[in-house]
Every structure is written in C-alpha cells, then in structure tokens.
C-alpha cells in the first residue's frame, strides 16, 4: 500500500506526511509537482506549506501543476486524496471541494493544539474514528478561515459533508467552525489542521492524527 505525498515548490510538511504514512504502516512515495505520473500510489496527500509562497492566494498557483491534472482526474475515479492545510487550499482552488480559505479573522499566523470533533467517519480518511470522536491535533495556518456562500454551507451540513469541526474557540474564523470537508463520495478530504504532526508522542501533542493515515490503509484494502 503506497501513499504518495506531493511536493510543490514551497511545500513544508511533505516529509512529515511521509513519516506519518510510514508510522501508519504504508509505504510513503514522494511525488513531484512537475511530474504528472502518480507512480502507482494508492492514495495521495497534498501536504501543508506555502506553495509558491501563497503569494497570490493559498493554493492558487499549485492547482495548475502537472501532477494536479492527474490527481483531479483520478480523484473523480475514487482515488483517496487528503489535502492538509495548504493541500486543502489547493483542493478548493482546484474545485475538487467547494468553498475557499481566506486569511484568519485575527490576521495572524496561529499555531496551537486544537480540539476537533470528527463528524463524518465514513470517508476514506476518517473511518478509524468513532462518530463524533473528539481529538486534539495541531492547527497552524495564516489562511485557514473556511468560507463559502450560505447555500453551499447548508448543503455541506445537510449532506453530512462536514468532516471535522473546531471545538472551543474557533482558531481562524471559519464559517460554522468548519475544520474539514469531504466530497460526496468520501474519497477527497480537505482538512485545515495537521494530523501528520500528531502521530508520535515525542514530537506531537497527541497521536490523535494517526487515524487519518490508518483509515486510508483500510479504505484501500477494502476497495
């Protein structure tokens, strides 16, 4: 079972995502933005960072990378794709997920340990969590505020497409405290917080993030 992790120019948490895949028992594969080939991976992580400096809009330029064309088309066929932070921004910019991420309401970069509730445990990336499982993982971002128009928000909630919600103080002003969403099929998930930083007690605040990576192993085996 291979999990590919894309490196864009300016990706930062790519090594961490590969480590998390390995800790979960998968074989991590480094994918390169300019190479459209996915090298036979069974799932893809778009990692955190500031691709292209996030100078235009977070994720706006990466969306046009050659590897994204392949990922966009394979995602349509059911390939599990997890976008973390900058990866979530890329997924929204690619229109694989609705909405967009804008600057935090307090306009500062914020790094903290954040409680979340997993509200949808039927996706490829969350099946190892209980429904309404409360976890604490790292949130760190500058442009982490999830926004969408009211009908879209209503639809996301109505169809159970909200994967995770912030508990306690909303760290970035996301509408309706949304921390992560999925597509209807449940293979594409975007998540603002960073599960890959929470897979080892030594270096993370918890190991609550590991479930994302173990979930996808099962999803791939099952399919």
């Amino acid at each position: 079972m291979k999990i590919g992790v894309v490196t864009f120019p300016g990706s930062l948490d790519d090594a961490d995502a590969r480590r998390a895949a390995a800790v979960a028992g998968a074989e991590p594969v480094a994918l390169w933005h300019a190479d459209a080939d996915l090298h036979g991976v069974d799932a893809v992580v778009l990692p955190g960072g500031f691709s292209y400096g996030d100078y235009l809009r977070a994720g706006a330029i990466s969306r046009f990378a050659p590897v994204m064309e392949t990922i966009i088309s394979k995602a349509g066929e059911g390939l599990p794709v997890l976008g973390i932070c900058n990866g979530f921004q890329v997924l929204c910019e690619s229109h694989l997920l609705p909405g967009a991420l804008i600057k935090n309401h307090h306009r500062k970069f914020l790094c903290k340990d954040q409680p979340l509730r997993i509200e949808n445990n039927r996706t490829a990336w969350t099946s190892d969590y209980d429904s309404n499982h409360e976890i604490t993982i790292v949130v760190k971002n500058q442009d982490g505020s999830f926004v969408a128009d009211e009908p879209t928000l209503d639809r996301l909630e109505g169809e159970g497409l909200v994967v995770a919600r912030y508990l306690g103080v909303n760290p970035n002003g996301s509408y309706r405290d949304i921390a992560g969403i999925t597509n209807a099929r449940g293979n594409v998930v975007g998540l603002m917080p960073h599960p890959e930083h929470c897979v080892e007690t030594l270096t993370g605040p918890t190991t609550d993030g590991l479930g994302f990576f173990t979930s996808v192993l099962k999803a791939v085996v099952a399919s």
């Binding site: 120019p9 930062l12 948490d13 500062k108 970069f109 790094c111 903290k112 760190k140």
Partner: protein
C-alpha cells in the same frame, strides 16, 4: 532607459591620481583611505572604493571588536561532545556530535533594520542566518529569536513588536523551520534600539561540511538565487551617482524585502547540489553582497578570482557597477564549481526554478579582478579587502558611575513580609512584561514543522531530534540578563553563559558549544567599550571554566539613542547534545506526577540586585548581580543530566528571572497541576520565592526514586533541599498563602494580549 553609464576603470584611476573621492561620505577615515592608496599604489577606482569602504565598515570588519574577539581563541577548541570541525572565521561553527553527524549553529543580529522596517528587518534577519547555516553544508532544522523591545506600553513598541514577530514568523514559517525558543525582554533602553537576534541550527553528515573558499584554478564561480536589485545600497549610491553622465540613478531602497519562498527553493536546491557533490566551495551573500562573497571566497582560497559583472542577472538594469557590487539583495548564494560539474549544477538549479549564472572563475593571479562592460573596474589583493582591514584598539575605561551604581543594592529595598503581601508580589511579578506568558508571540511561530521538535518554547531549551532511529538530538537555549550585565558586565556575561548552559542541562542534554551575539552601544564611547571588553573577558573565562568553546557569533554596536546606550546585552546561545531525546526532561507538572517530591538544587542567597522583583516592584536597578560559581553550575548540570538519563526526575525547571516563585508557576501552568511548597528551614520566605541566585533548579522526583536521587546529590555534596510536593490545582505556599492556578493563569496570560491586541 538610463543615461549612458561610464565606469571608473583601473587605468582611468592610474591616470587620474588626483580625482577627489567621496571616501569620507562612505565612512572611511583619512588614514584608511590613505592605506587603500598604499595597498593599490594608486587611487582606488570607485568600485574598489565601494568595496573597501563597506568591507572595512564596523559591521563587516569587526575593527573595534577584533582585538577582543581574538581572546575566544584562548578557549580550548574541543567540545565535550566532539571535535570542533569549523570555528570562528567560518560562516558558522560546526561541531561533531557523534554517529557521523555534525551540527552548526549561530546567532546574528538584525537590530537596526528591524527598527526602520520591523517586518522586513526581522524577516531578512532570519533569512540571513539561515543562509549562513546552509552555506556550511547543513540542512537548517530550527530557528530561535532572542528579542528585546522598549517598554511594553510605549507606542513605538506597539509598532515594532508586532511587526518583528510577524516578520520572524512570516519568514521562518514559510521556510518550514520550527521556531523552538528565544526571548522577549522589555527595557526602556531598547525603545529606540530594539534587538532582533536570530539563531539557526543546522545538521549535516560529516562529509557534507563545506567551507567558503575558492580553490582550483579554472573552477567556475556561480551566482545563484534571486536577481540583484538596488536593495540596501544606501551610501554607495552617492558614489554611483558620480559615474552617471547625467540624471543619476533611480532611488535605491535602504530596506531589503525578503522572499521566503525563494529562500525555501534555495535551501532545497543547495542541499541537492551538496548531495550531488557538485560544489567545491560556497558562500552566502549577506551584508556587502557580492563584494563580501567574492573577496572572502578569494581571500580564503589560494589564488585569485575573476568576475564579470555583466553576467550578474539584474532586477534593475540601471544599476551602476558599484551598486551591483554592494547590493544586499536577499536570497542569493555563490558557489565554486569545477568546469565539468557546471552542467549538473545548472540542471539542479533549473529543477528548483532557481536562476544560476556562471559569473567568473578562480585564477592564479592572486588578485580579485572584476570587469564591467569589458573594462576592468576592480583589481585588488583580496585579503586586503576581506581579512586585513583596519584594526582599532579603542580606548576603554570603567565608567565613573559604575561604583555608585554597584553601591546602590536592591537588598535594602522594602520587601513583602506577610502572606498576603507575598501573594500580591507574586501576582504582580507573574503579570509583569518580562515574566508573563509569551504565547502571544510564540503562537505565531510554527514549532511542529519537520516533525523533530521534541521540546519548544516555553521549555528551558528547544530540543531537536537529529536521528529518528537512535534518538540522538541537540538542545539549544539563548539567554542574557542585560540588567545584570549593566551592574557588572564581566559577571553579567558569565551569568548569561551560566543560564544558557543550565537551561540546556535542565532538559537533559550535555552542553557542548557556545555562540554569542554581543549587542552594545557605541564603541566610540570608552564606557561602552569597557562593557564590551569585560563581557568578552567574562565569556572567555566562563567558557574555559565550563570547558566549552565559542564557535562563532556576531557583534552589533551603535545600539544607542543619543548618548544613552542599551543595556549591555551579550546574548549567549548554548548547544547541547543528548544521546536519546526520549529521555528529555520537560518543565511541566502533569497529572501523572501527582505526589512527586519537589527539590530545590543549589544555594539561595540574599541576592536581589538586578532582579525582576527590584525592577517591577521598585523600578530599581543597582547593586551587584548574583554571584556566579561555574564549578557549581557544572555539578548541577551533571546531576540534571544523569538524573534524566537514569529516570530519577520527571520534570525540571531552572531558576532564573523571578526566582523560585516564577519557576513553580511556570511548571504548574505548563502541566496544569499545582504544588504545595514551603520555604526550607532557615530561609526567609521572601528570599525563597524571589531571590535570583544562580546555579539553581527545581526538580520533580518520583517517590520511588527519592532515595537514589538524594544519595546522588549527597555523594556529590551538592546542596539539595525538599521544598514541596506536586498536587492539586493551586500553588500553596505553606503558612503564607495559596493562589489557584486559574488566578495565576489569568494574571500570567493577560498581559501581552491586553497590551497588543
């Protein structure tokens, strides 16, 4: 486009010996200008004059500090961890930490730029130190930021502090470097002179060590990274304007703007170049840009160097050659590459979208020769530019006011005596700007990226895992109490060293090496120069006693407003090595530690001068700083390291600013569990809580290990006394007062947000 430019060539300079040159405007002294003429046996060209003037500036030549810095060479150059593989004189010091790994670390200042433009000044400060580390061949793995500002409530602090913090975060976060520590200190003397120091740590395999020298005749000189613009040219524009027929150059910005995305590409690209083994020598471009890189590389090599300025890619084509040489555009590096590796080199750069151009080669002329538009504009012996600049023996003298200052001790000031007064004092101190919670700052920094941050602020030191399999790691702390240094710069520097050393040992790592950033006022003031010399003397003596060398650092002078210099601020960074990071000791009292015994290690004396108590409660600075006993520090460190390795302690926190009270508050709030404590027999509760004697730490010992632990201290005859037990949700000082963690947390956390939001 710009008017026709004509250069002042070498032959022109030979033919026109009497041309007036603006050497004074460029900061050169008459004898320095004469010396340049003597070296060249003619007048310098305007390009040469620009190079000499900037390379002989205080910032680049260390002309006022050199005679003192040389004393660092008296310290034995071995570290307790392993050999020093590169030391002072290189871009950064490198030490062997075993298992084939080496680490490099260095702290630098970006004080003046950060005052003018806080965001960009701080951001480019991070960028600069990261390139220094990269230039050694290392992957940068962590940053730290010792910061000092004027009073928290001053208007200008509200301009400077948020800008500096977001600049450091904006740059460091974008590079994917965890920020694992630093300092935030307030004092009125920093109001017009904030201190923005930045430290970077890098890791490499031994074989990846690269040095900055240009050897091998025929090897190519490659400039790569960002294009060269008119950034940071400042005074040199005066000079450039003289070479324009008419019109003059466009405005040149004094402020450099950083592009962290470019730097991230530069890091990955450079590491791939090292891995591909296509780099002979390398140098970052920082202050003085190409002038510095070319002359330093050539000077450290054995031959000469030829460079064509026409090959330098420009962001602004109107730049005159003097300006190209001087530009401080960020995110650039220079490499020496054998001809057969050039293609591979350029290919790797192309992969990372990094522009790279061959701009010259290593020659056997023994001279640095630079052409522009086909004409020679520079022809100099490189050592005279880079390494043989002027050296000053500036006068220094203990100021007359020093005695009076030292006579005015804080020990005589009125103190809290009743439980209620002690409680008030505690809450006041906990909420004071220097002791309060700094997460308003540190929450803006990514401390998790790279996945190797074992400890980060507010722990005693940052700790980074180097090897995932063996658990080998390093810990780094930076410290300085400028008030102590003002009272006695010699002892103050030793205290800074002692505190940093202690912080590293408290986490379980063995201190191994030192870097320092010496922030002072004007070297032309004999009193400041005395403070500087004393601080160096303190560091040298201290390092010899502790057996750890200084591997590199930085000097920042002229931090003063009018006649008032900043507190002398010798920031000391200590790096330690730990065999297995899973044995690290954190500061927090956690629920699992309920019932653990608290011991205070070290002696508490009646030492209140320069303390936070004297500062906050009385606005007082006078007396003598706490005594420093480095032999005792070493013993304490041994105990902390052994106890961590043998599992005898579960938490430890050093005692420094704010005394034992602050230590206990921080440990309790960190882990969310309180303590019941008492003043040991014979010790006045006030001194127990607030004295700032050095050489102390509070440790949490599981009951099951208590005998082994106290036996160890007894065997070493090290003072240790039980002061309490971990329990409950308050800090209960027996027979005196109790305060809930909730109340403490509110007092501790509200200060910065209230002032800055």
């Amino acid at each position: 486009m710009s008017p026709e430019m004509s250069a002042d060539t070498v032959s022109n300079a030979g033919n026109t010996p009497d041309v007036e040159q603006p050497w004074a405007e460029l900061g050169l002294k008459p004898d320095e200008y004469q010396r340049i003429r003597d070296i060249l046996d003619r007048r310098p060209t305007s390009c040469e004059l620009a190079m000499y003037s900037v390379m002989w500036s205080e910032h680049c030549s260390y002309k006022s500090s050199k005679v003192h810095l040389r004393r660092f060479g008296e310290i034995p150059q071995e570290t307790p961890a392993g050999k020093m593989l590169a030391g002072i004189g290189e871009n950064a010091g490198v030490i062997d930490i075993g298992e084939g790994y080496a680490v490099t670390f260095k702290v630098e200042s970006h004080n003046h730029p950060s005052y003018i433009e806080p965001y960009q000044g701080a951001a480019t400060g991070v960028g600069g130190i990261v390139r220094d580390i990269l230039a050694m061949g290392a992957r940068p793995v962590a940053v730290m930021d010792p910061l000092r500002f004027g009073p928290l409530h001053a208007d200008d602090t509200k301009r400077v502090l948020p800008g500096v913090v977001s600049g450091i975060g904006g740059y460091g976060n974008s590079l994917g470097l965890p920020n694992v520590g630093g300092e935030v200190v307030f004092d009125p003397t920093y109001l017009g002179n904030p201190l923005v120091n930045a430290l970077c740590v890098g890791v490499m395999r031994h074989e990846d060590l690269h040095l900055a020298n240009a050897t091998g005749v025929g090897n190519r000189i490659i400039l790569y990274g960002a294009k060269t613009g008119g950034d940071g040219i400042g005074g040199v524009s005066v000079l450039a304007s003289e070479t324009f027929a008419e019109g003059g150059p466009t405005k040149r910005p004094a402020v450099q703007v950083g592009d962290p995305f470019m730097e991230k590409l530069l890091i990955e690209c450079t590491l791939e170049l090292f891995a591909a083994n296509v780099v002979e020598g390398i140098q970052d471009l920082g202050g003085a840009g190409l002038s510095c890189a070319t002359s330093e590389l050539a000077s450290a090599g054995e031959g000469g160097m030829y460079v064509s300025l026409d090959k330098v890619p420009l962001r602004d084509a109107s730049l005159a050659p003097e300006e190209i040489l001087m530009s401080e555009s960020q995110e650039r590096m220079m490499a020496v590459v054998t001809p057969d590796n050039v293609e591979a080199f350029l290919k790797i750069c192309a992969k990372w979208d990094v522009q790279a151009d061959v701009i010259g080669e290593v020659t056997n002329t023994g001279r640095l020769q630079i052409d522009w538009h086909g004409e020679r504009v520079v022809d100099v012996p490189p050592r005279t530019v880079a390494h043989e600049g002027p050296v000053y023996e500036r006068p220094y003298e203990r100021p007359a006011w020093q005695d009076e200052l030292q006579a005015d001790g804080a020990e005589k000031l009125p103190r809290a005596t009743t439980g209620a007064e002690l409680r008030d004092t505690l809450l006041t101190l906990v909420a004071s700007p220097n002791l309060c919670d700094k997460s308003w700052v540190t929450d803006q920094y990514d401390r998790y990226v790279l996945g190797n941050s074992v400890l980060a602020q507010p722990e005693d030191s940052g700790m980074i895992r180097v090897d995932e399999t063996s658990g080998l790691g390093v810990a780094v702390s930076t410290d300085c109490n400028g008030r102590f240094a003002k009272l006695d710069p010699y002892t103050g520097a030793k205290l800074a060293l002692a505190e940093s050393y202690r912080n590293v040992a408290t986490t379980g790592a063995r201190p191994a090496a030192v870097t320092d950033c010496l922030n002072f006022g004007s070297p032309e003031d004999p009193a400041v120069m005395w403070q500087f010399a004393e601080a160096i003397r303190g560091l040298v003596d201290g390092c010899i006693e502790l057996g750890i060398p200084v591997t590199g650092g930085n000097v920042s002078f002229y931090n003063q407003t009018g006649e008032t210099p900043i507190l002398p601020t010798p920031v000391v960074g200590v790096l330690g090595v730990i065999d297995d990071v899973s044995r690290r000791t954190p500061i927090g009292f956690t629920a699992e530690m309920e019932g653990h015994q608290l011991y205070l290690l070290g002696e508490t004396e009646e030492e209140l001068s320069g303390s936070e108590w004297a500062n906050v409660v009385h606005g007082h600075l006078g007396g003598r700083p706490p005594a420093v006993d480095l032999a005792a520090e070493q013993q304490l460190a041994d105990i902390l390291i052994n106890a961590s390795r043998d599992g005898l302690i579960d938490a430890a926190h050093d005692v420094s600013d704010g005394g034992v009270a602050q230590t206990l508050v921080e440990s309790a709030l960190r882990g969310g569990v309180g303590a019941r404590v008492w003043a040991p027999d014979g010790l006045d509760p006030f001194l127990f809580l607030f004295a700032e004697s050095a050489g102390r730490a509070v440790v949490a010992v599981p009951r099951t290990e208590e005998v082994r632990f106290t036996d160890m201290c007894t065997a070493r005859r090290f003072p240790h006394v039980k002061i309490g037990v971990i329990t409950g949700d308050s800090l209960d000082v027996q027979d005196q007062f109790e305060v809930s963690l909730t109340e403490l947390r509110t007092a501790w956390t509200q200060t910065l947000p209230a002032a800055l939001n």
